[in-house]
């Protein structure tokens, strides 16, 4: 509750601040201050289970240890994102305050999408996430690629929203309780009413659109490639895991009872996502586009949580959110500093800037899932959840094989960093200030600590 209200208030403050403050650097400090306030208040809410704001929302939002932990993870990752790449946001355009304001509104939407208790709040939350993202994608107004990405993202996003609404309408029609509350959806074992089955399918398709799972992933590479790199970083990390969290929450609480009937569909989507994401990533020359496909591949792993739908899956999705967001924010933060976004552009980084090279290596290893990094633990939890589930053991084998294939394209970048000579004068184009380096060290430390003690993330859930 704290997070929803405070992010919305701070978004409005940032927006009006953009009108009155002419300085280009001031909005960043206001945003970091706001983020600290939001983060501390959401941690206080997690510890005390009491919100600062008490008003009657008719049980439309529900907070518990699980989703409060998730909100705290999201806020921590966003704070790190602001600290690491805040200076890059300033370079995108002239309306700096508004970019930060839009990010705060997205965080508000994420908080709603993580705590929803009715389909209405799910819809509102997803839309509050999506609409500011369309603007951020197109924020580089003179750049044709950015325009194209924004239009594509907008048309696809609006289309999938329409599909989701149709699903919600069907579920409402088929629900004899005439209610949008997710725990009041009466499905009945064995024989599912046709309206509810159709609604479930529609919602599954539209949520797959939002989290870019194959075969509904085709917008992802173009949008991630065209958007300004700083915003791609945010989109592919925090926003993506929020989509998965909403997906998991909806399917656990409202359709969990008929889990075995839709499990095969999710298994199919998982395999398709793993195959298409990993295989296409292998052929990419641009690191930014490769990371876009790799985010599809990671989505395949996160889908295992929805496939398994047990206690381990809930722990796994928290761990995956933290691990994937940190590594993704880190690697995109390094990418914003590069002169050339192709893999050859990373040649010789190891000689020119050893710290940045080491950080990039750790992030890529974490994305691959090498032990001692957070990525390993999160993938391990996901696979454990899928094994615990008891059905469809082959899915685990497929996931492991594709995790191995993913090593190829991540290691290609590491190889370029350390074992190839650069033929250009500068590898790192943008000036790197000492603070950026400190933040890289912080992220490396977090990744390694979570990799060794995953309990520090999961433990909050049971507090």
């Amino acid at each position: 509750m704290n997070a929803i209200i405070l992010t919305a208030i701070w978004g409005v403050i940032m927006m009006f601040g953009g009108v009155f403050i002419k300085s280009k650097t001031a909005p960043r400090f206001v945003a970091i201050t706001g983020m600290l306030i939001v983060l501390s208040s959401s941690i206080i809410e997690l510890l005390t289970k009491k919100s600062f704001f008490n008003f009657d929302h008719n049980n439309m939002l529900h907070t518990d240890g699980f989703n409060l932990t998730f909100i705290a993870i999201v806020m921590t990752c966003t704070l790190i994102y602001f600290l690491l790449t805040g200076t890059e946001i300033e370079k995108v355009g002239s309306h700096v305050g508004e970019y930060f304001a839009l990010i705060f509104f997205i965080l508000c939407g994420i908080s709603i999408a993580a705590t929803f208790n009715t389909l209405l709040m799910l819809f509102i939350g997803i839309e509050i996430i999506s609409i500011p993202l369309y603007i951020l994608t197109g924020s580089d107004k003179r750049n044709l690629k950015s325009n194209e990405a924004a239009l594509k993202y907008f048309l696809m996003g609006a289309f999938s929203t329409g599909i989701m609404l149709m699903g919600i309408a069907f579920i409402y029609g088929g629900n004899p309780n005439a209610s949008f509350y997710i725990d009041k959806i009466q499905i009945g074992l064995g024989h599912m009413p046709v309206l509810i089955a159709a609604g479930l399918l529609f919602i599954m398709v539209s949520m797959s659109f939002k989290v870019s799972a194959a075969p509904f992933h085709f917008w992802t590479p173009d949008v991630y490639d065209g958007a300004p790199t700083v915003f791609t970083s945010f989109m592919s990390s925090v926003v993506k895991v929020a989509g998965f969290f909403a997906f998991l929450r909806l399917f656990e609480l409202s359709f969990g009872i008929v889990h075995e009937q839709w499990q095969y569909l999710i298994a199919f989507i998982t395999v398709a996502t793993l195959v298409i994401g990993n295989i296409t990533a292998v052929f990419q020359q641009s690191v930014k586009r490769m990371l876009a496909y790799s985010s599809i591949a990671q989505a395949g792993f996160m889908l295992l949580a929805i496939f398994a739908l047990n206690a381990k899956a809930k722990e796994g999705i928290l761990l995956y959110s933290a691990a994937y967001s940190l590594a993704s924010i880190g690697i995109f933060g390094i990418l914003t500093k590069m002169e050339d976004y192709t893999i050859d552009g990373f040649n010789g980084l190891g000689k020119e800037n050893p710290l940045m090279a080491f950080a990039a290596t750790v992030f890529l290893l974490s994305l691959t899932g090498i032990p001692l990094t957070a990525g390993f633990q999160s993938k391990f939890f996901m696979l454990m959840a899928a094994v615990d589930n008891g059905h469809q053991f082959w899915l685990v084998i497929v996931a492991v094989i594709f995790a191995a294939i993913s090593a190829y394209y991540y290691f290609r970048v590491i190889q370029a960093i350390y074992f190839k000579e650069s033929d250009r004068n500068v590898v790192v184009a943008n000036a790197v200030n000492p603070f950026f380096n400190y933040m890289l060290i912080v992220i490396i430390a977090l990744i390694v600590i979570i990799g060794i003690y995953p309990e520090i993330v999961i433990g909050w859930m049971y507090r």
Partner: protein, 110 residues
Amino acid sequence: MDIKAYIILSLALFTIGIVGVLVRRNAIIIFMCVELMLNAVNLLLVAFSKMHAMSGVAKASPYFASDAQVFVFFIMVVAAAEVSVGLAIIVMMYRNVHTVDVNFLNRLKN
């Protein structure tokens, strides 16, 4: 009137919307088709709301059948917000390339 008629009508509108999104190449017409999809949903929600209210099941439950009618207002508001952002994006594109044809959008392919 039978609820089936409403379901068929709104599904027909929804399908026209989907086909329009997939077939048409003009960004503004695609956008109008998306709006048509949303309005088909609005119609269906109102029809279901009336159906639940008349069936009497809703009278026994503490939840009101009018929830769906409130939902329709939310859809309208969100659609309006989406229109404002979407038209801005289309205008931005028009300023740069002087066309609203989505076939023009192929720069990111290579």
